[in-house]
């Protein structure tokens, strides 16, 4: 691109940043307006928003039990972390005269959302800088300029903030806002190479909802290899060529670049990984000690594990939600139950390894794919989970520009999210429908998520192929 066009681009960026802040404030205002609606539009009792794990009403119940010196897990009402009880519990009790109930809780969730968005934005900027520099180092300068045009961090942050799913989950007082925050903290910490932060995020996210445990693989890859980059063999080819070139020609001008590429090529740096693992150990023991102190009087940590992780893994609550498990486990015979539990949970684990092998040069994208998979196959999914991965999708806006069926996916999401409450109404309130109606929308939703994963992964691989082709063509040009 010539210098003439560069100034407007800069101006545009500045304008966009101004717009960015006004959009952020707008989203906060929108949330506050909806919070002030009477009874929050009853969002907190909708099955799409609050699951047994994330419902604020259950949390308030657990806090009440704890206050009356009983175990917060008595009566199978609360299934979350004890740390959330200490953080949010007092806020559920406090009422301000003339203000809506749970106002303080909602404010916490709004803040959590905004912080999440900021972290996504920062992580996006880091990713983008790293990506364009790596593109430059393999000689694809025009592509790196292209990738700079779309500020994917801002885009992803706004996507997260303005996504109706996020808004609904936030106003519906679902604790998934905090779970999402912890996941994003993990990713940001890993992108910024802050081992303590990433370890904290990972430990907390795992503690809160168990499924983010699988994010340890992308985080280790992030620490080991650095953020997303084109396939590594391209660098190797490129360096070979440079070494050949520099052997014959001048050495000095390429020295800087070579050092840079050495870092890229540096196969796997163990030091930050070990640091991360050490911090993870530290944080997890810390969290366990805190929890232990909290539930000390009531049969200790064992009960906590039983009614949080055990509750997640054995799927005891079969009340309807937007996942597919409740229906299946309501139908299945009791003596097959454990078998199918293993099969269903094995589904997630089965896909971890192949994906990690195929996408190991793009750890952030790998984390995105893991999040989509786990929010599709988790036992109590809610719209808050989809809010997270749809926001992260924005981070890869440049790479996924050629994604197919984007319009179909968009209409599908709109259709399913409108149809689901209607089917629920037909089933529960009108009595003219039945459980199959509602489950049909859950299946449709799962299918949409599968299509999203398949299409995004294939678009990413196509993007890689394109880069490979361009570099090899360039190398051949240079050689001939």
């Amino acid at each position: 691109m010539s210098t003439k066009t560069e100034t407007p681009v800069k101006k545009k960026n500045q304008k966009k940043i101004q717009c960015f802040w006004s959009w952020v404030i707008g989203s906060v205002i929108l949330r506050l307006i909806i919070i002030y609606f009477p009874k929050n539009l009853n969002l907190s009792s909708r099955p799409e928003v609050s699951t047994p794990l994330t419902s604020i009403r259950r949390l308030a119940e657990g806090y009440w039990l704890k206050q009356s010196s009983m175990s917060p897990y008595a009566g199978s009402m609360y299934h979350g972390s004890p740390l959330l009880l200490t953080l949010l519990g007092p806020l559920t009790v406090k009422r301000i005269e003339g203000q809506p109930d749970h106002l303080l809780c909602s404010l916490v969730f709004v803040i959590a959302d905004v912080v999440t968005a900021m972290l996504i934005c920062a992580a996006g900027k880091k990713l983008q800088a790293a990506y364009s520099s790596s593109l430059q180092s393999i000689g694809l300068h025009h592509l790196s300029e292209d990738s700079d045009i779309l500020p994917s961090g801002d885009f992803a942050a706004l996507l997260y903030l303005w996504n109706p799913f996020t808004i609904v989950a936030c106003v519906g007082l679902s604790t998934s806002a905090i779970e999402n925050l912890m996941v994003v903290v993990t990713l940001y910490g890993a992108c910024a190479r802050l081992a303590p932060l990433a370890a904290f995020g990972w430990v907390m996210a795992t503690h809160l909802s168990l499924y983010p445990a699988i994010l340890i693989i992308p985080v280790i890859l992030l620490f080991g290899y650095g953020p997303d980059a084109p396939p590594r063999k391209l660098f190797r080819q490129r360096t070979n060529l440079e070494v050949d070139d520099s052997a014959s020609g001048d050495r000095s001008c390429l020295e800087d670049e070579l050092v840079n590429e050495k870092r890229m090529l540096n196969v796997f740096s163990w030091r930050p990984v070990v640091l991360f693992l050490f911090w993870a150990l530290l944080w997890s023991s810390y969290v366990l000690v805190l929890c232990g102190i909290y539930v000390q009087q009531h049969s200790g940590l064992q009960e906590m594990f039983k009614s949080t992780y055990g509750f997640i893994l054995t799927i005891q609550d079969l009340s309807p939600n937007i996942g597919v498990f409740w229906y299946f486990f309501a139908e299945v015979f009791d003596f097959f139950r454990s078998f199918f539990l293993i099969v269903f949970h094995g589904n997630i684990l089965l896909m971890i390894l192949p994906l990690a092998l195929r996408l190991n040069h793009r750890p952030c994208f790998l984390a995105f794919v893991y999040i989509v998979l786990s929010s599709m196959l988790k036992s109590y999914p809610s719209v808050g989970d989809s809010a997270l991965y749809l926001g992260l999708l924005g981070l890869f806006a440049y790479e996924l520009k050629d994604m197919q069926f984007s319009f179909f996916l968009f209409s599908g999401y709109v259709g399913v999210s409108l149809l689901s409450p209607v089917m629920h109404n037909l089933w529960i309130w009108r009595g003219t429908g039945n459980a199959n109606f509602y489950f049909a929308t859950a299946i449709g939703y799962a299918c949409l998520q599968i299509i999203l994963v398949v299409e995004s992964v294939s678009a990413m691989l196509n993007h890689d192929r394109m880069i490979t082709k361009l570099t090899t063509a360039k190398l051949q040009n240079v050689k001939s």
Binding site: P38, K39, L41, N42, H142, D146, I149, Y398, K401, D402, M403, Q404, S406, F407, F410, S411, V414, G415, L418, L419, P421, V422, M423, N425, L426, W429, R430, G431, T432, F437, N462, R465, M466, K469, L470
Partner: protein, 688 residues
Amino acid sequence: MVENDSVTEKKPRIRPIVRLGFFLISHSNYVSLLCFLSGIVALLLLPILANNTYISENALMPGSANSMLSTQHVSHANKFINDLTHSDIESHKTVAQYMSALDAEVTYHKFYPQLNQFHPLHFFTSSDSGIISKNISCSSLGINVAGIIRAPRGDGKEAIVLVTPYNPKKVGPGEALSLGIAYSVFSLLSRVTWLAKDVIWLVADSQYGEYSAVSAWLREYQAPVFHEAEIVNSETCNDSIAISELGQNPYSDRNSYGGFRRAGTMAAALVIKVDEQGNHHEDSLNIYPEASNGQMPNLDLINIVNYLGVHKTGFRIKVKKMFSLLGSRWLNTLGGIFESLGQIARSLNPQWKFGISATEYVEGAATLASSMYSQGLGVPTGSHGAFRDYQVDAITLKISPKDSPTKMIRRNDFILRGGRLIEGVIRSINNLLEKFHQSFFLYLLSSSSKYVSVGVYMIPFALLVAPLPIVAASLHADASKSTLQSTYSSEVEVSHKSWKWLNSARKVLVIHLWGAVVSLLPYFLYQIPNSTPTTNFTVWGILSAFSLIILYFILGSPIFEAAPSQPEKGEWASLKSVTISTAFIGLSLMSVINFATAEIGALLIVPICLMARPLKLDAQARSWRALLRATCNLALGFIAFPPVAYFLVKGAFEDFNGTNVGDYWNWVESLWTWNSATYLYVESVELT
């Protein structure tokens, strides 16, 4: 670009289903025309495809026992009617007196007539509406009388409800007769041994409308609201003191209770009415099943009434018809054609029995049209609509006597027949072990003994709507292709080709947002006191225009300024494809909520969506075909607009006049808005 070509060339082998999809998309014009026409034909075929009803629940066993209602009960009822019409004391006292004489538990239910309120968000907010009525003068207090017979064999957990609306200020002869029928049945039921469900007889005070009385009683029954304010308010009223005295009245005695009494969950409810006018050929019975939002009671309830009416008591059972259609010539010719087609088919193979006679077809079509109209409008056809909101199956039975009820010679005979029918129905329902669940909830009636089930009537709708996704897909494909070609040179443009639709999606979103705002406005307008319908309507119109302008400035300006820079044709195609897909989503959604509305909406919207094209492009083409199409578009737009406007006006007026209540407004109004949003949007497409 080299890479793109290679990617497309990489897939030479395509699976057959994908090839079929491509074929459909590439011939979208013909396919959509075919689908649309076949949809209309299938719609016209519905009366032929109707099945005979049958009683699905075995436990009902209608008509298996002999009727126990005797002339003795009827003479008691006659006395009751005479007392009611001629006595000096207030009529609800008479009713209560007679009820308690039958050992029933009698309670009064005082209520304030519910002012009609429009709750746009009712559907999503909650099922129990904690509506608090304020600032209502004491004079407008209504009194329902409810008598409960406890079943000797029951556990008090289930109940059957009889409702007789009447106006206590002026008891008409028809109302008196309906009360008499109910009384005769009630007096029988208080003595029988087979009763397993409690029987509630609700004498609803209909001076402020039947529906509001019944719904107030139901609200108190199902979802009582405890507020101090209201009680205090009612205590201060002089009227209410008079009412509270009622309970201590010396001769209205032991069985009168102060509080509100309940009798378990309701299995079914029957609303009994008698037509004021006589002069029919024979005694007939009209069934009104439609509740709010096109909900229907279980088909078995209608089946019992139909079976008992036809086989036991000899009533002529009728369902509402659209009489204007009966005489229409084109329907008769169509019926003739179908009849002859059926005969031909039968001559080919005697086992094909789908031919029906022309008159039968016309009658079926008229009934079906009226059934669809009243379901589609979403207004309940009687006070039974209030029950359906609590999942209780209910119908209104309107009995039309041969002679006028005032000078009826055979009044006793009439009461006997009506009473026997009601007794049979109650005895049948009494046999039920569970809630009504066996038979259909989603159906259209084409006569009292014929129905079109959901599996059948969805076919024409699916055919009508099928063109929308196909056309949207083909337009989307066109749009992305054309932008790809036109902006091949600049890489930046190509890079967003897959997300091209985002811009148009934003536009559609803005328009729909505006539609939502407009539909929410009446709710706020309703808060303004002392306003007439006309001023409200004008304010509404002005406000909606104003909000459009604001939206245009806030959200619209960046969108509209971006538009001209893009190639116009591709832009238009993607815009249209986004609209059509939203229309498709909306219609399918509506078909789940209220089929009839969706069907009528599809008939209107689908042709508009398919025909819309920007005028500018047509004018540029300047061929006669393009001109024809443009005129077609304009004509369609013009035809489609008046109904929309009419509906809007009517809706606004009805809303502010307060004739109808409840969440049906939500749907009807949302459909209208949605209609108008689409229309406006199509307009904007045409004018770009």
